[in-house]
């Protein structure tokens, strides 16, 4: 409904003006293509599949024992006891656990791939503190062997972000974790773009060492504000152009600016903020920065001090994507507590997420979650498996703006599913089978479903 309104207004305006004066000769309207590198993803071959008799964690807080999951036409069709589906491929999952596909909101696979090589270091455009014009998708090397390792750990969806060298580092892209030869063939259809921003030490240290702004945290803030002032003017110019055009005039379109296109997308709510930010006081300022310019501050990544402002995050609807135990590599990451995620999660309306930012731990987000669950339960929390699975599924999907499509085993959602050999929060757990949109993309027992990168072929 909200979407329909503006165009109705435009039509009314145009006809009203056309009615009272001869229409001015209009040049073709200049529009910005919001999707110039569209997804070519399609689901791999799949058939109706019935997973039987497992412990099922839905991602929405439910746990079903001896339950079945029915996958039909690439979607979750039903979760329940003793489901029957004629013609379905039956998978006996007795004694096993089933969860939604795992989602990592913070990955650099493809942009900082393995092997680590100058030729492939494509994650940080360290030439200007504001590079909103770059898009991580243009750096993705789909043959990064890390994608396959991540799939073996149950990762079905992941956001690839630029690094944190810049105040505004560029757009992130959400991918389906399917083997492909092009980025577009992995691109998650209709997922919103992310915008990577970074607080704190990284931008100020890098540019400060070059005697450029930012050299300080106040320089950081000045840098974001300057960029959003420009973006606000840019958006105003385009809004005016669109309004004038709709009014039947023949305005001159503003000059395209790739950097400001992205920031305009943020101001319009189409592009979601993903903000590398460790410290309590900085996150609080980034929330206000969003309010100053009329956008939502989005998800805080790393957020080592999120537990200090858990109330504020929940109040403002900010997700925080965190690790259990990375700390001490920088002063802004000194105040780690193992229970950070649990403390953020404990507040009503919170959105706690566990992320990796690593080609190694992305393979075991279930274990990262287990560390937190057990540390918290040793210290007064009462967290359950069915609850914490949401940190790496439903909440992660919410952070990426795709919770209407994936992140839970609700009927109608994409059938992104993992079968685990045991409780996924055990150190001995392994993903046995992984499905994306109902298609089996990994099977630990069947080499035919163990994808390998071109790069690994013939290496002795």
């Amino acid at each position: 409904m909200a979407k329909l309104m503006p165009s109705l207004v435009a039509v009314t305006l145009t006809s009203a003006i056309a009615g009272c004066s001869p229409a001015e000769q209009q040049d073709p309207q200049v529009t910005i293509n919001a999707n110039p590198y569209p997804s070519t993803y399609y689901a791999l071959p799949n058939s109706m599949t019935l997973l039987k008799n497992a412990t099922v964690l839905t991602g929405t807080g439910e746990r079903h024992e001896d339950a079945d999951v029915l996958i039909k036409e690439g979607k979750i069709s039903a979760v329940g006891q003793q489901l029957v589906a004629e013609g379905a491929v039956i998978v006996d999952a007795k004694g096993k656990w089933i969860t939604p596909g795992i989602i990592d909101v913070h990955s650099h696979l493809g942009v900082y791939p393995s092997p680590n090589a100058e030729s492939h270091n494509d994650g940080n455009e360290m030439t200007n503190p504001v590079t909103a014009e770059v898009w991580a998708e243009h750096s993705v090397w789909p043959q990064d062997p890390g994608f396959n390792r991540a799939r073996e750990g149950g990762i079905t969806t992941l956001q690839i972000l630029p690094g944190s060298a810049n105040l505004i580092g560029g757009r992130g892209v959400t991918l389906k974790n399917v083997p492909a030869t092009t980025m577009q063939a992995m691109k998650f259809p209709h997922a919103p773009y992310g915008l990577k921003m970074a607080c704190g030490e990284n931008p100020k240290n890098l540019y400060g060492s070059r005697n450029e702004l930012p050299m300080t945290r106040m320089g950081n803030m000045a840098g974001y504000r300057t960029a959003f002032i420009q973006a606000t003017e840019y958006k105003r110019a385009w809004d005016k152009y669109d309004a004038d055009y709709a009014a039947g005039k023949n305005p001159v379109a503003p000059e395209r600016d790739l950097m400001k296109d992205t920031l305009k997308g943020v101001l319009e709510g189409d592009i979601l903020i993903h903000n590398h930010c460790y410290k309590a006081e900085e996150m609080a300022m980034m929330i206000d920065l969003g309010k100053e310019f009329g956008y939502h501050a989005g998800t805080f990544h790393h957020a080592v001090e999120a537990y200090k402002i858990a109330d504020l995050l929940a109040e403002n609807g900010n997700c925080a994507a965190m690790w259990p135990d990375w700390w001490g590599f920088k002063l802004e990451a000194y105040d780690m507590v193992l229970e950070n995620v649990a403390m953020v999660d404990a507040i009503k309306n919170s959105c706690a997420v566990v992320h990796s930012d690593s080609g190694v731990t992305i393979q075991r987000l279930n274990q990262e979650t287990a560390k937190i669950m057990h540390a918290a339960n040793d210290n007064g929390f009462e967290l359950t498996e069915q609850h914490v699975i949401g940190w790496i599924t439903a909440n992660a999907a919410k952070s990426l703006g795709i919770s209407d499509k994936t992140g839970s085993l609700e009927a109608g959602k994409n059938a992104d599913v993992v079968i685990w050999n045991t409780n996924p929060f055990s150190v001995y757990a392994q993903a046995e089978k992984v499905f994306i949109d109902g298609a089996k993309v990994y099977d630990r027992q069947d080499p035919a479903y163990q994808a390998q990168s071109d790069f690994m072929l013939g290496q002795q």
Binding site: N205, D325, F329, N379
Partner: protein, 418 residues
């Protein structure tokens, strides 16, 4: 005021818990009804009793029990304290804060002794204890030379006397290099050994002919001489199989005590490693082809090497902030094919053997480095219930616990007052 607060705190601690060395050493302690993973040929002992006195294990399953104090483990697992290795604990407080960093130096060389920079009061130690780690082989990250200096051994008491031994091994970094050729590094090592060997042979001859004409060996020569004598391990961080083969050859020529660290490609030369009795210290979680030297990284490697007969230790080399997670690496190695008891040895007995430590086993006469677990030590659901280092019970609280408590339990006053 500050001084007064600290001593008051210390007093209350020693009154409430028998933490002080004097108290612990005067008393004997029996841990009864434990499931004891000895990491020895005795394997696992059920319902066992371990007696410790004066910092040492004095009896296992004695016929009659006489101890000042008894703890009933109620079936819980008792293991040797885990031993971490090849990390920079006590040398780095915060990675990006230059003044808190002593783990590397441009001029680090064979003689570099980083133990002189060790800070037993680092916040990384109490956090590591929460993972059951009682000792650690600390290393520098080196400098421009292939020789990164000497390793040293610490216990995790955090006491000022916690450096147990310094200059325990010579650490060398070989293989891929950003500049120039890897051949230069290998050649430097070979030449150093060759030249030293020649010099010693000549010196011996000279000594025999004229005893007055002998010079004091240089510091560097003494170290290389200890390496050549096999007294000091030559610990080499290296990945590619072709480099490992050179080291195997060097061991054969000079009879060195070679230890391979990392060893991504070790699985390609397993037989040769077994034959040469060269152990491998491996990061069991490393499974990405992170360079052209490490295309064979795999979660299966730890188990595969051990099955083939290589002595394997599991470590988290490098940064020391989260070495508490060593036990999870061992668990993952088990999930990927390593035998459970071998994985236990890989973080206790094997690492002790490889680095010439007296700890790492529960046996009479060994230091009483013990950990009592609430469950399987490799599992996330388990935690350390009690820990002793050389018989002294250790605190299991860290700075992280204080931060958590301060923000978890709110009052109407700012957190700073809590």
């Amino acid at each position: 005021m500050t001084l007064f607060t600290q001593s008051a705190l210390a007093l209350s601690l020693s009154l409430s818990v028998a933490l002080s060395a004097n108290v612990a050493q005067a008393e004997s302690l029996a841990i009864i009804n434990a499931t004891v993973h000895t990491a020895t040929e005795s394997g696992v002992l059920n319902n066992a009793t371990v007696v410790i006195e004066n910092g040492t294990i004095t009896a296992i399953n004695p016929q009659s029990l006489q101890a000042d104090k008894t703890i009933d483990a109620k079936g819980a697992m008792l293991t040797p304290g885990f031993i971490a290795a090849m990390n920079d604990m006590g040398l780095v407080e915060v990675g990006a804060v230059a003044t808190s960093r002593d783990a590397s130096d441009k001029e680090a060389d064979i003689t570099f002794d980083p133990s002189l920079a060790f800070n037993p009061k680092t916040t990384t130690i109490p956090f590591a204890r929460k993972g059951g780690i009682t000792r650690n082989i600390v290393t520098s990250n080196g400098g421009e030379s292939i020789f990164a200096g000497q390793t040293f051994v610490v216990d995790l008491t955090g006491d000022f006397d916690s450096v147990i031994a310094s200059n325990t091994g010579l650490f060398v970094q070989l293989g891929a290099t950003d500049e120039g050729s890897r051949a230069m590094g290998m050649q430097q090592l070979i030449h150093q050994l060759e030249d030293a060997q020649k010099a010693f042979t000549q010196a011996k001859k000279a000594n025999q002919s004229d005893k007055d004409d002998s010079d004091e060996p240089s510091r560097e020569d003494s170290i290389i001489s200890a390496v050549l004598a096999g007294e000091k391990p030559l610990i080499v961080a290296v990945d590619r199989a072709s480099d490992i083969m050179h080291l195997i050859k060097l061991k054969q020529v000079y009879n060195l005590d070679v230890v391979i660290v990392n060893g991504a490609d070790a699985v390609l030369v397993t037989e040769q490693l077994v034959q040469a009795s060269i152990p491998v210290v491996i990061d069991a979680m490393r499974n990405l082809p992170d360079s052209f030297d490490s295309l064979h990284n795999s979660l299966n490697n730890a188990g595969q090497l051990a099955k083939a007969g290589v002595k394997v230790a599991i470590a988290l080399p490098g940064d020391s902030h989260s070495i508490y997670a060593l036990r999870y690496s061992a668990g993952n190695a088990v999930a990927n094919g390593m035998d459970y008891n071998t994985a236990m040895a890989a973080v206790t007995a094997n690492i002790a053997d490889i680095f010439h430590l007296d700890s790492g086993r529960i046996a009479v006469g060994k230091p009483a480095d013990l950990v009592l677990w609430s469950g399987d030590p490799f599992e996330f659901s388990s935690k350390v219930q009690k820990m002793w280092i050389a018989g002294e019970e250790q605190s299991l609280q860290s700075r992280q616990d204080e931060l958590r408590d301060r923000y978890q339990h709110k009052t109407d006053m700012p957190a700073a007052y809590r």
